[in-house]
């Protein structure tokens, strides 16, 4: 039964392959050829090694089956010469001799299999099945390599395959863009690639001695804006991404996606009305969101709860003209739900993007956001942890040695600054002024009381209040006390946030 199955299998898989058979014994040759012809569409037969080699050179058969001892040229001599032509040639040696010497020589030459005569038919068939299977695997591998090479070659993006800081391969688009003849010439060209990255605000280029390649490798998977000049001398805007090749040390594919058409490099057109500018901004932003989604790159979402920053990464799942769907963590979803808005940052955005919440889907872990607006601040620039002090906390402000009688509230506090809300502004107070403050933080029973000398960093007027950010550099003892207070307050706020029923 097993024999029959093997016959069937060989008959099926051998139909695309050719075989060369070399045997000087006419009887055996006739008998074996008959069997081979049952399975293989093309069988070549030779009487000795010399004839076998000539047939091999002429027809390049897929499989060679050969005897050892033959006139003119032995089977092993022939196998050696065939291997010199094609190291991947599949050669099966058959021999009536059980001599170790032959076997060892066969191994040295790299023959595929050594079979001892008389060969049971089932063993021969089993061997041929195995050989054909390995040939098919090789064929698939070559096909895959061919097509991936094709995909690499004809991609619409510029692609460069690098190992350490050397270019190994560059695709057609890349060679065309940089007017380089071939990947070998490009290799030398790539050594000075850093000089091609043109300076532009918030773009990637060599600055302060920081190597551009190391920067993108450290943030592999992130997107970077880069500006390059094409061979005609025109500036082009690309989105650059480095993807690490798994299991290959320090190997990356650099991909450059040309987004010049979005016009982000252009100076703002001052002739546009406010409405037209907003419309143009919106079109550019939607295009950027598409680029981020296409590259499956993470964005960062920022929210806050009573001054405490809550931030996680997310991915853009869908981009429509009036809303986007973002997948993020459960914690961030809750924070967005509570604030009804979030601020998004991406390396690709010129500024942070504020969006309103449309709806939350806790099952799919997604949030729908709309009404996008670029805002002139980056939440990621906030260096220190801030917290809103308890309602019982108080602050007294002394300006020009006079205590301010105005009602002042601490909106949030950190180790290097405080955000204050004034009902009205003390007379003459302006930015860079020095202030003395007496701060009482925490519960009434054991408050932390600190005298802090501060400087006004900024003042902004709102509808019913003025807000001032004051900064300070505390001496070690006071700093440690404030650190301790903020760390405890931070914990209390986290507990409060997690316990909020309306957060979900």
């Amino acid at each position: 039964m097993e024999d029959k199955n093997n016959y069937k299998e060989l008959a099926t898989i051998a139909k695309d392959f050719s075989l060369l058979y070399i045997e000087d014994n006419p009887g055996l040759q006739k008998q074996a050829s008959k069997i081979f012809n049952k399975f293989f569409p093309k069988v070549l037969v030779a009487q000795d090694g010399e004839e076998g080699l000539n047939l091999y050179k002429k027809y390049s058969p897929d499989i060679v089956v050969s005897d050892i001892k033959m006139p003119k040229m032995s089977g092993l001599e022939m196998a050696k010469k065939i291997k010199e032509i094609d190291n991947d040639a599949r050669i099966i040696i058959t021999s009536a001799f059980d001599e170790k010497e032959y076997l060892l020589e066969s191994i040295d030459i790299g023959v595929t299999k050594y079979l001892k005569k008389p060969i049971p038919l089932n063993e021969l068939i089993g061997t041929l099945i195995n050989v054909i299977n390995t040939l098919n695997e090789d064929k698939d591998k070559r096909l895959f390599e061919h097509y991936t090479k094709d995909a690499f070659e004809y991609q619409d993006h510029i692609l460069i395959f690098i190992e350490h800081d050397k270019s190994l391969m560059a695709n057609k688009k890349c060679l065309e863009f940089f007017a380089q003849e071939n990947p070998k010439v490009f290799r030398e060209f790539f050594e000075n690639f850093s000089k091609l990255l043109l300076p532009h605000e918030n773009f990637l280029y060599e600055k302060d001695g920081k190597n551009w390649l190391e920067t993108i490798k450290e943030k592999s998977g992130n997107l970077f804006n880069v500006k390059l000049k094409d061979s005609k001398g025109e500036n082009r805007h690309f989105v650059l991404k480095a993807t690490k090749i798994p299991d290959r040390d320090d190997c990356y594919i650099l991909s450059f996606d040309d987004i010049t058409e979005l016009g982000l490099l252009d100076e703002e057109n001052s002739n546009l009305s406010e409405e037209q500018r907003k419309e143009e901004d919106n079109i550019r932003m939607i295009s950027l969101l598409h680029v981020i989604k296409r590259n499956k790159t993470k964005i960062r979402l920022y929210n806050s709860y009573k001054g405490l920053s809550i931030s996680n990464t997310g991915t853009i799942e869908e981009v429509m003209s009036d809303h986007i769907n973002v997948k993020t963590t459960y914690l961030q979803q809750r924070a967005v739900h509570l604030e009804k808005k979030t601020t998004i940052e991406s390396e690709l955005f010129p500024k942070a993007l504020e969006c309103n919440l449309e709806n939350v889907n806790f099952q799919t872990q997604t949030i729908a956001l709309n009404k996008f607006l670029f805002v002139p601040y980056l939440p990621s620039m906030q260096k220190h942890v801030r917290v809103m002090p308890e309602a019982t906390s108080e602050i007294e402000v002394y300006f020009n040695t006079m205590k301010s009688p105005i009602n002042i509230q601490m909106l949030d506090i950190s180790v290097d600054g405080c955000n204050l809300s004034f009902e009205s502004l003390p007379a003459g107070l302006k930015e860079e002024n020095e202030l003395s403050t007496k701060v009482k933080l925490g519960s009434n029973t054991s408050p932390l009381e600190l005298d802090i000398k501060a400087q006004v960093l900024s003042i902004k007027e709102y509808k019913n209040e003025f807000r001032a950010i004051v900064t300070y550099k505390l001496e070690t003892k006071k700093k440690k006390l404030l650190v301790d207070y903020i760390a405890k307050r931070q914990m209390a706020l986290i507990r409060e946030f997690k316990g909020l029923e309306n957060a979900k």
Binding site: S311, T476, V483, Q490
Partner: protein, 251 residues
Amino acid sequence: MQNEKVIYDDGDHKCIVFSFDNEETEESFLAVNQYLIIQNKSAILIDPGSQSSYDEVFDGVSRYTDIDNLKYIFYSHQDPDVAGSIANWSVSCGARQIVPKLWMRFMSHYGLMNFNRILALEDKGAKIHFGEDYLHFIPAHFLHSPGNFSLYDSRSKILFSGDIGASITSVYGAKNQNVNFDEIKENMEGFHKRYMAGNKFCKAWVKKAREHDVQIMAPQHGSLLSGEEYEKFLSWFENLKCGGDLIDEIY
């Protein structure tokens, strides 16, 4: 200062060991080391320790650099003697907190909700630039923590090995670099046999460690090992039967 020592200094790059904490039981005394690497105006604090040692470590760091120069704080794993002070350190400065990704879910318990401040290490580790040189985070999982890393500093060639190589010693013995491995082997054995998960992990870590040119091994507990003594430790550790290999002793 009796419990701090500069273990590397080439003018631009400096490594300091502090031993501001200890773990005392009836039978043993385990000194807890904290490390600081400074290169010009950048610094990284390694395994800053428990909340109770925060004040002393803060003062220790301040003696060498401004707290605001801390660019990174690295927590090799989640134990309280490593990461107990996360909340305080996250408030003190703007440094990025480097933690094994496995422990990200614990961060809100430690008081961190701003995940932009965290650099989460994937299982295979990472290599980051530090001044002109680099820091390599080497997987040390299950030795003992399931999410754990050692840190190799390419400039000083010091391997900060976390719990690996920990030995029971007095607080003053911690900074001794001229330790003979054979003399402290006995002090290491009990801890490693009980805390490390199994020989398979020891072997994997030793293989990774050998990829680097290590001059000094600086563990989180006990003495530093260098040169031949470090080599002796590697040979001992890669053959150590521990944890799951000795399951019958504890079950």
